[in-house]
Amino acid sequence: MNFIRTVIIALPKGFYTTLKHLFKKPVTRKYPYERREMAPRYRGKHYLERYDDGTERCVCCGLCAASCPADAIYMEGGETDNGERFAKVYEINLLRCIFCGFCEEACPEEAIFLGHEYEFSDDNRDSFIYTKEQMLANRPKEKPFKRIIRKVRRIF
């Protein structure tokens, strides 16, 4: 009986599953050539936002660093030429970051966002210290109407 249950019934059943998938659309992708569209609220690599006139939104208030549960954010404040506060140093250690998005939520100036980029690998640890310049450059190029929608969202 045991032999019948484990071999004669189970084996064709298993092969049937394999056979079935031969005719289905595959769930895997040809990764480097095909990329996934992430969910709108996916939390990937951070970026820093700018004002429309090009100045940085970040004022180095330190709330992101305070809210960070992994203590991944380091910042040093400074003074711009016209006496305003700005982040002289702003670094995120991506190896420590757990992509919880608390920094985005804490930010009172709407300066830091978690983008959709999820591909970051490197062969040394130093390059995972993500600097302010990289974060400003990482800002996605949005289509104009999307930006308007974001602005409307900001108002409400």
Binding site: C61, E76, R85
Partner: protein, 845 residues
């Protein structure tokens, strides 16, 4: 009700009965039983003003809410601090304060420690019923906010100001500075400097600390870090001997600011700018981080092992050949007690030499132990005790510069408790503006003046009966008021008036300062002052404060970092160390003299800069040049390290823990804030390394050494004053020839010794040496502020820019000594009681 109860009132606060002294406010009564009432404008050390209305409480039978900070507690009052009406009132006040307050907490430096932020959060205010635009002060049209510099270090943002007036009030009430005011009225009221002034007084940093919001910020803290990222470290100020308690705010390896840690026995919550910005030397540029060894003409980087090996080899050579007497040691009295103790132990046990001293800025030192001055300085003095006095007598001290916080206590007792202040100085000082009589004597005649006072007290029959006053006339010279008046250049009736005030006083505090302690006639002046003290009965009713200068001068005295010690202290050391060198030691000045005569071959200087600070530039240069071997440990490159054979990097006070003994004799502990920079080491480790290389280590660990140090520091030596009048004969030096203007070399108000010029903020107040002149003197020279004047004495000359003083009104030249670019000690001569100079204008070509 008995009379004892007349001074007490009993009231009920939140259902609890409390009995408080009459005159206390409801707020203080509530605080005394642990009920917190929110406030903005109230401050424990200021008079109440009731500007913010935040401290509303409900008092039964009063028609409206009352401001508790300005309502006196009355018998039978029933107070509610937590009723609905009170909450409603406080909410309304907060809403009103927030009317024009910007919501820029993310950029505001006060964010995280702001009273307004905390209370708004506590009262749950999230919306306003006023929807019109906020009123904005904008000076600069380009900027969206109003940041405006009130002084070198203070930035004001008027939009954030909630008009508690604490800054203006403390400035006027406590510090006696009139450079800040509240102008205009209503919601356009503006805190600003007076016409043509700027806020640069020595107490100005307190205005920032006292501000409940971010309206006043200082440049060192501004925008650098958020308060919640820092750690607090308890520290003690490393400059003057007041010993104010500080909190250092640090993150990682950097200190970001220093604030006061209130200690009512000493500082009452106020600190001066030196203490507030002086921490910056720890993180300043140019710190020495590796040992340097002179090879040929250049000093080159070396390892600790090389440096210590060289020092040990040379010290051993000299010691074996000529004995320990040929090695001398100068320590900076602003070092911690452990370093000073290790320094003294290194010399006395390992090198077998008594040549240790810390008094590098004294002209001539006594050559016998147990001199009167050292006896008097070891007597007890208490800063808080000044408040018991009804007469304060300051002799030879520019108190506000030398001891800013002691000066505040004197100010307090004079302006708030009605005591009388008398100052006796060779030139007018800022502390004199509240004095009943500010007596200016001719330079170098203070004994004559004090003798005159003594004679006058006896003549007026006001002398204390604990002393036999009949012999006074035979023991002092001059022995009449008229003669004293003639010699000192003070009107006779002012001497008589002061004598009368002193004779009639119930409790006198006598304070003397640097102008006396560094003088070569120190003993004669001390004897004269002792006569005066005995005649006024100060030994019983009063206190005598011969204030020491540096943070740990008192500690150095107690630890015996001096060549000549009292027998009891030597006995103590023998029991601690099991031995004590036989030969008599040399004082700082004698060491340099011996070096000049090539009797001393090696000198170990720890932390001090005699080349800049010793009051005879030429003498000290010649002495140090003749040395065979000079070892200097210091924080920075100084004029002395430049001549050294071995330079050792010393850790700053922030980089170690230890203790200081302040001018009262209070031992105060400070904690380590940051790690020693580079390869620098605390003084005790350096001494231990040298000792280990020579013979044996001084200690296993610093903690093991601590009981020995404490035994010496806590040793009470309160020598009995002999109740006998002393002989004081005055010899008056006259200015001769072409050098006629008396010279006084003092510390600049914002600087202390040779270290503070490295502090960025303190240098923003003043960064170069100046010549301070009276307006009439400046007019004679046709000089204005900034005019270059050539100051020449018999031995040297210096060119300095002029500052026209607001206080000085006689013909003296006051120069500041803290700047290595202008070594003004070149003008001084160590044997001269008063240095005289000639002033000429530098003609521009």
């Amino acid at each position: 009700m008995s009379s004892a109860d007349d001074n007490k009132v009993t009231l009920t606060i939140d259902g609890r009965e409390v009995t408080v002294p009459r005159g206390m406010t409801v707020l203080e009564a509530a605080k005394s039983i642990g009920i917190e009432i929110p406030t903005f404008c109230w401050h424990p050390k200021l008079k109440p003003v009731g500007a913010c209305r935040m401290c509303y409480v409900e008092i039964e039978k009063m028609p409206k809410l009352a401001v508790s900070c300005a309502t006196e507690a009355m018998p039978g009052m029933v107070v509610h601090t937590d009723s609905d009406l009170v909450k409603q009132g406080r909410r309304a006040v907060l809403e009103f304060i927030l009317l024009n307050h910007p919501l820029d907490c993310p950029t505001c430096d006060k964010g995280g420690e702001c009273d307004l932020q905390d209370l708004t959060f506590a009262h749950g205010i999230d919306d306003s019923q006023f929807d019109f635009n906020k009123y904005r002060f904008i000076r600069d049209k380009k900027s969206t906010f109003d940041d405006y510099r009130l002084g070198p270090e203070i930035i004001r943002n008027q939009n954030r100001c909630i008009l508690c007036y604490k800054c203006v009030r403390s400035n006027k009430e406590v510090f006696g500075e009139y450079d800040l005011g509240a102008f205009q009225r209503g919601n356009i009221t503006e805190i600003d400097t007076g016409p043509g002034q700027q806020v640069d007084s020595i107490y100005s940093g307190n205005l920032v600390e006292i501000c409940p919001v971010g309206a006043l910020t200082n440049t060192d803290w501004r925008y650098n870090i958020r308060v919640w990222k820092t750690q607090k470290v308890n520290s003690i100020c490393q400059y003057c001997a007041d010993g104010c308690n500080l909190t250092l705010w640090k993150d990682r390896q950097k200190i970001y600011r220093a604030t006061s840690r209130r200690n009512d026995a000493i500082d009452e919550g106020w600190i001066c700018n030196r203490g507030r910005y002086g921490y910056q030397i720890a993180n300043a540029e140019g710190r020495l981080t590796v040992p340097l060894i002179k090879r040929g003409e250049r000093q080159e980087n070396a390892t600790w092992d090389e440096a210590i090996e060289l020092i040990a080899r040379r010290f051993k050579e000299i010691k074996d050949k000529k004995g320990g007497v040929c090695i001398g040691g100068l320590a900076y009295p602003g070092l911690d007690s452990a370093s000073l103790y290790a320094f003294s132990k290194l010399f006395r046990t390992i090198l077998n030499s008594n040549n240790v001293d810390f008094r590098i800025d004294y002209k001539m030192l006594p050559e016998e132990p147990g001199d009167l001055y050292t006896q008097i300085t070891s007597r007890k003095f208490s800063i808080a005790g000044i408040e018991n006095s009804d007469v304060v007598l300051v002799i030879g001290s520019n108190l506000i510069n030398e001891h800013p916080i002691t000066n505040l206590r004197v100010r307090k007792v004079v302006t708030q408790k009605g005591a009388k202040l008398y100052t006796l100085n060779p030139f007018a000082t800022k502390s004199g503006d509240i004095s009943t009589d500010e007596i200016i004597y001719r330079a170098g005649t203070v004994e004559a003046l004090i003798n005159g006072l003594c004679v006058s007290i006896v003549e007026q029959k006001l002398a204390s009966d604990t002393v036999d006053a009949s012999k006074l006339a035979t023991r002092v010279e001059p022995n009449t008021v008229a003669q004293a008046a003639k010699i000192s250049g003070v009107e006779a009736d002012r001497i008589v008036g002061l004598a009368q005030a002193l004779g009639e006083a119930k409790h006198i505090t006598l304070i003397t300062g640097e102008l006396l302690s560094t003088s070569i006639t120190r003993d004669a002046i001390t004897a004269a002052i002792m006569n005066l003290a005995l005649l006024c009965g100060m030994a019983e009713n009063g206190q005598i404060g011969f204030l020491s200068k540096y943070a740990n001068s008192k500690g150095a005295e107690k630890l015996g970092v001096m060549p000549l010690l009292s027998d009891s202290l030597i006995a103590e050391m023998k029991t601690l160390w099991g031995g004590y060198p036989e030969q008599k030691g040399l004082g700082a000045d004698r060491m340099i003299l011996s070096a000049k005569k090539e009797e001393i071959d090696a000198l170990f200087v720890m932390g001090s800069d005699p080349m800049l600070c010793y009051p005879d530039g030429q003498f000290v240069r010649e002495g140090i040049e003749k040395l065979d071997f000079l070892v200097v440990a210091d924080l920075f490159e100084t004029r002395t390290t430049q001549m050294a054979d071995v330079v050792l990097p010393l850790s700053s006070i922030a980089e170690m823990s230890g203790d200081f003994v302040n001018l009262e004799g209070t031992v105060q502990h400070f904690d380590q804030a940051i790690k020693p920079l580079g390869q620098s080491m605390p003084g005790y480790d350096i001494c231990n390394k040298i000792a280990s290389a020579l013979k044996e280590p001084l200690f296993e660990s610093v903690a093991r050494m601590q009981p020995d140090i404490m035994r010496l520091l806590l040793r009470e030596e309160n020598p009995e004053i002999q109740r006998e009048l002393r002989e004081v004969k005055t010899s008056v030096e006259q200015a001769s020839g072409e050098y006629t203007v008396p010279l006084f070399v003092v510390d600049q108000a914002h600087h202390f010794a040779h270290l503070t010029e490295r502090s960025k903020s303190l240098s923003a107040f003043c960064s170069e040496a100046h010549l301070e002149l009276s307006p009439s003197m400046a007019e004679k020279l046709h000089a204005e502020t900034g005019t270059l004047i050539r100051v020449e004495s018999e031995v040297g000359k210096v060119i300095l820019p002029v500052i026209i003083s607001e206080h000085i009104d006689n013909d003296v030249a006051v120069v500041t000594r803290n700047f290595s670019a202008n070594p003004v000690n070149d003008l001084q001569m160590r044997k001269q009681r008063v240095d005289y100079v000639r002033l000429t204008r530098v003609e521009e070509k």
